[in-house]
């Protein structure tokens, strides 16, 4: 399945609560207030942790109902049994095998794929493959045109009918601030630069590919983030995977959230540092790892760690949760470690002026050592950046893998970022940017509240524009995707291995470009499909305030 997350840790336990832990200081007072929402008896846990939080932090993961969990397992069981049955029939040529096969000349080579790797793809993914990779043929804005495709052989192949399904409400693209546009200031500026510079660059930053546009972009980004210096890279994924190895190496320790994005995981692995995983957004777990690491030093040699780097994301794209940044920063300071914050989804989407999770919590950008983010999402472009102290950026300019070996960013893409960042900062002389940030925040709260009222289980933080709606059962993944498309709404559905096996979900990404009418239409249809597929699982059970069950198992991974 097109997975966005790569889990190092085994599937987490069935129930998942997330509450701030009194991790940072022993005397921090903790208070809980239960708020009765005006419409329904919606209960949120607003927890202020020792005054670290300047704003309420409402984040909850409702427990999976037991019956649903059991039925989900049964569903997978049936699918697996059928899979074996069909594999058996394929083997005996009762059913036609549609897999692409090895060349005759190479039949005696060691098989390229192990059979169990493909079992899942062949027998589970193939059934609902039409919910992914849907090709679109317009700008990925609030509404999108999609190429109609049909399959006559149960999703093994697709044919395009040539028809275009017009004006699908797009709840899938990461177009948070609505900068995916084909008209307007950004497009015009990009077009101008394109005709002047051309599309490519044909060289690396360190050789002959350092254009004046790149320098301009980096200065602007540094100013936007409120950091001393910044550097931009051609791909968001590679920003993580090619720069973490420049920062840490053997003898260093990486503490990584269990739900970190694949690019962070890959970067950590490539670095050669020891990696330990803490529970998602669980500060108690993080503090224990930090304490143990410093007290016990490196395994076997007992030497002290050279440095400790904490890897977290601003908004987790599959959970819709927001990092507990005030607590992370307090911990990082207490234990003298460094913080690497990946703002792929939060930059532009959070904070009163779109400066990300740091601004959202009212913190100082200087407290985050490495500010990383992407331009793909809120800015409607491509690429990534790293911001921080001048020494850090100078070091990366010299030693980043990306600067030395990868082609630099395309000039029109750079221009799109420059104009959109200026728009967000209000430097274009309008307040369009700020209005969009506000619109997104309003849309987020409205959409989340309405979905909860309808009785769906919605994960994550109430301010997160990433909204996961729990589907649980494998059959409902495909059904939800198809039913929504039938109603002209494009949604993203995800299942295993992107999520734990029983926590399949649909994910909506809100955008400032969504109008209230669009959201209402979408909500109406979601409500209808929710009834049809019986997705309204929520029991809104009041969960007692206990720290999340925390076992002391840690997962360690050492590069060999």
């Amino acid at each position: 399945m097109t997975d966005l997350k790569y889990r190092l840790a085994p599937a987490s336990e069935m129930s998942r609560y997330c509450f701030p832990n009194n991790a940072v200081s022993g005397d921090a007072s903790r208070c809980v207030c239960l708020i009765d929402s005006s419409t329904v008896e919606e209960i949120n846990h607003i927890v202020h942790n020792g005054g670290l939080y300047k704003r309420p932090f409402n984040e909850a993961f409702e427990e999976t109902p037991m019956l649903v969990a059991v039925l989900t397992y049964v569903g997978y069981g049936v699918l697996t049994l059928f899979g074996y049955l069909r594999d058996f029939m394929r083997q005996w040529k009762i059913e036609k095998c549609q897999n692409a096969t090895e060349r005759e000349e190479q039949k005696d080579f060691v098989p390229l794929y192990q059979d169990f790797e493909n079992f899942y793809n062949r027998n589970l993914y193939m059934r609902i493959r039409d919910s992914w990779n849907r090709p679109i043929c317009s700008v990925p804005g609030a509404k999108v045109d999609m190429m109609e495709r049909v399959s006559h052989d149960y999703n093994w192949t697709f044919t395009y009918t040539g028809r275009v399904i017009k004006d699908i409400i797009n709840m899938g693209s990461y177009n948070y601030l609505g900068f995916a546009q084909k008209t307007g200031a950004c497009q015009e500026a990009a077009a101008k630069v394109l005709s002047q510079y051309g599309a490519g660059v044909c060289s690396t930053r360190q050789e002959m590919g350092n254009l004046d546009k790149h320098e301009e972009l980096e200065k602007l980004v540094a100013r936007f983030l409120g950091v001393e210096s910044a550097m931009a890279y051609g791909m968001g994924f590679a920003t993580n995977s090619m720069n973490i190895p420049a920062l840490v190496g053997k003898g260093c320790l990486i503490l990584s959230d269990e739900l970190n994005h694949a690019s962070l995981v890959l970067g950590a692995r490539l670095s050669g540092a020891t990696i330990r995983i803490f529970k998602h957004n669980n500060m108690q777990s993080l503090e224990k790892l930090l304490k143990d690491a410093i007290v016990h030093g490196q395994p076997r040699t007992r030497r002290p760690w050279k440095k400790i780097l904490i890897l977290v994301e601003g908004i987790y794209s599959m959970e819709g949760s927001i990092v507990r940044l005030p607590e992370v920063i307090a911990l990082k300071k207490k234990y003298k470690s460094y913080l690497y914050l990946d703002e792929a989804h939060s930059i532009g989407a959070l904070g009163p002026s779109g400066r990300g999770v740091v601004e959202y919590f009212g913190l100082n950008p200087e407290d985050v050592d490495v500010m990383m983010g992407t331009f793909t999402k809120s800015f409607g472009a491509a690429g990534g950046y790293i911001g921080g102290k001048k020494e850090l950026i100078d070091y990366l300019r010299t030693y980043s893998h990306s600067a030395a070996y990868a082609t630099s960013m395309s000039p029109p893409v750079v221009e799109q970022i420059i104009t959109s960042v200026k728009c967000i900062m209000g430097e274009d002389g309008t307040n369009i940017g700020r209005a969009r940030v506000q619109q997104l925040a309003e849309n987020t709260r409205y959409f989340r509240r309405r979905l909860k009222e309808m009785g769906f289980i919605i994960y994550g933080n109430e301010d997160s524009p990433v909204v996961p709606l729990m589907l649980y059962m494998p059959a409902k993944i495909g059904a939800f995707g198809r039913e929504m498309l039938k109603r002209n709404i494009g949604v993203v559905v995800v299942g295993f291995p992107a999520t734990p096996i029983i926590e399949s979900r649909a994910r909506f990404c809100l955008s400032a470009a969504h109008t209230k009418e669009m959201l209402d239409t979408a909500l109406k249809e979601i409500n209808e499909v929710g009834d049809l597929l019986q997705l309204k699982y929520s029991r809104r059970r009041l969960v007692p305030l206990l720290d999340r069950p925390f076992d002391e198992t840690t997962y360690e991974e050492t590069e060999d």
């Binding site: 097109t2 966005l4 000349e105 005696d108 060691v110 390229l112 794929y113 192990q114 992914w132 090709p135 700008v139 990925p140 693209s173 177009n175 900068f179 995916a180 990009a190 394109l194 002047q196 599309a199 490519g200 660059v201 044909c202 060289s203 360190q206 050789e207 002959m208 590919g209 350092n210 254009l211 051609g234 791909m235 968001g236 994924f237 995977s241 090619m242 994005h261 692995r269 490539l270 760690w305 003298k336 460094y338 050592d369 793909t376 472009a381 491509a382 020494e391 300019r397 893998h401 990306s402 600067a403 030395a404 070996y405 990868a406 960013m409 395309s410 893409v413 494009g490 993203v492 060999d560």
Partner: protein, 471 residues
């Protein structure tokens, strides 16, 4: 007989005691608290706090000297085409990989413009989640058709292409035979795969065969393991680090002899070698199906951004779920895909550009011969030429400095060259310091845009360079 009886009678007494102790011991072991190795130190809380207090980490990054050669980038103002303004000085560009001169091509630009008008800039999503555009599908189809393979898959970043493709197939326990001159992207891909890596000497087929034979004897010892151990040879078509080509026909022979799959990285040879620019397979006249996977970037000849892999569907399709850089990254901006499609159109419509490029390469290569102090490394038809010091001046650092003076001197004379940059600590087998020149550009409209006089200028220049720096 009696003696034996007393023995049997006596035996149970101490046996019982022993067994009793044993049972007690087992019970103790069962109920005793399990302890971790770490916690045996039994530090008090205070001691722990002291340790935390005392620990001083290294700084996040060490300071970079202000004069580090890689710190201060050249600033290019305006488009990086064949005439380029570097640090305010206008130069003829011999430093970018714009081999076919398509970067500044009006047709390519207008195709990109049209796409920009229709789709905007970004895709706002990975391929799986509404990030697949009709242009992506078209580009994949066109690339597959151009390379005459069943399927092609595009990535949004050239570096990530081979670096994602290798770990999609080769896993822990598998064996990869790789040329020691392989480029950095391959090295990172291999590292991510965590496979067993065996380096063979650059282009040395005897050395490769030696390793393959070694593996064969190893396999005979453990046939069970051998049945599930995948093996791959990873080579480059035209080596980025050396400028020479791989002996593909011999590699194919070895492939079938030892049943190893071949992955070929063609970033430099795609759109350069062969009659139609199909790369090293066309150059040698080899059936492309004999190569299991071909990977190339679209950032050199195609003058766009991104990369692609092509081959049989059986192999390529696997990356759509397993290629990390494909699944987890936003897709290629449509305007860049449109630019690549138009560049392919041009390559298909005018195959004579490849001959022109080749002729220019050979001329430059010839013109650069015989400069005392510098030698030209690489094939005569390679569009990336390396100039290397004939003898080192003692240390790598000094060599780099000397070459930097050569590059600066040329820059002042209006010729932009570049030093090939390497991360010295990271490279597996660090190539000697080199100046990379002669990214020779072929213009379509007027075929010999770089006139002879420039070539002469280069050689004259090098005479001056030679006299100034080497004597």
């Amino acid at each position: 007989k009696r003696v034996r009886d007393t023995r049997t009678k006596l035996a149970p007494a101490y046996h019982l005691i022993l067994e009793g102790i044993l049972i007690l011991w087992i019970i103790r072991l069962l109920f005793s608290k399990t302890y971790k190795l770490q916690e045996r130190s039994d530090l008090t809380l205070k001691e722990k706090e002291e340790l935390i207090e005392e620990w001083q980490p290294e700084p996040l990054v060490p300071p970079v000297p202000k004069d580090h050669p890689a710190l201060n980038y050249n600033i290019v103002s305006g488009p990086p085409t064949h005439i380029i303004t570097v640090n305010g000085k206008e130069c003829i560009n011999f430093a970018s990989f714009n081999f076919l001169g398509l970067l500044n091509n009006e047709k390519v630009k207008s195709a990109a413009q049209a796409s920009l008008k229709k789709y905007g800039v970004g895709t706002c999503g990975p391929r799986g989640f509404y990030g697949t555009f009709d242009v992506h599908l078209e580009l994949e189809e066109r690339l597959a058709k151009f390379m005459r393979t069943e399927e092609a898959i595009i990535y949004s970043y050239g570096f990530a292409t081979i670096a994602s493709a290798i770990p999609a197939y080769s896993k822990r326990g598998d064996i990869v035979f790789v040329d020691e001159a392989a480029c950095f992207a391959i090295q990172k891909g291999l590292q991510a795969s965590r496979s067993n890596i065996k380096l063979f000497k650059h282009n040395d087929m005897a050395d490769l065969e030696r390793l393959l034979k070694e593996q064969e004897t190893e396999d005979q010892k453990n046939p069970r393991k051998a049945r599930v151990t995948r093996r791959f040879i990873v080579v480059e078509g035209l080596y980025m680090n050396t400028g020479d080509i791989c002996p593909l026909p011999e590699l194919i022979k070895l492939k079938y002899k030892y049943k190893v799959r071949i992955f070929l990285e063609e970033s430099l040879s795609f759109g350069v070698l062969g009659e139609h620019g199909r790369g090293i397979t066309e150059h040698f006249g080899i059936n492309i199906d004999d190569i299991d996977l071909i990977s190339a970037n679209m950032e050199n000849s195609l003058a766009s951004i991104g990369g692609f892999c092509c081959g049989r569907s059986f192999i390529i399709d696997h990356q759509r779920l397993s290629g990390q850089g494909y699944c987890f990254s936003a897709s290629l901006p449509p305007l860049l895909a449109a630019a690549a499609i138009e560049a392919l159109n041009i390559m298909e419509d005018s195959p004579d550009i490849f001959q022109t490029l080749r002729a220019k390469c050979e001329r430059i290569h010839k013109a650069l011969q015989g400069i005392s102090g510098l030698k030209v490394v690489g094939e005569s038809f390679s569009p990336a030429l390396h100039l290397q010091l004939e003898e080192s001046c003692g240390s790598r650092e000094n060599d780099v400095k000397l070459l930097k003076r050569v590059v600066d001197y040329c820059m002042n004379s209006g010729i932009a060259l570049t030093q090939a940059r390497y991360l010295e600590k990271e490279e597996k087998c660090l190539p000697p310091p080199r100046t990379r020149t002669g990214q020779i550009c072929v213009e379509l409209d007027c075929c010999f845009l770089i006139p002879l006089s420039h070539i002469i200028r280069i050689s004259v220049l090098h005479c001056i360079v030679t006299s100034r720096f080497f004597h």
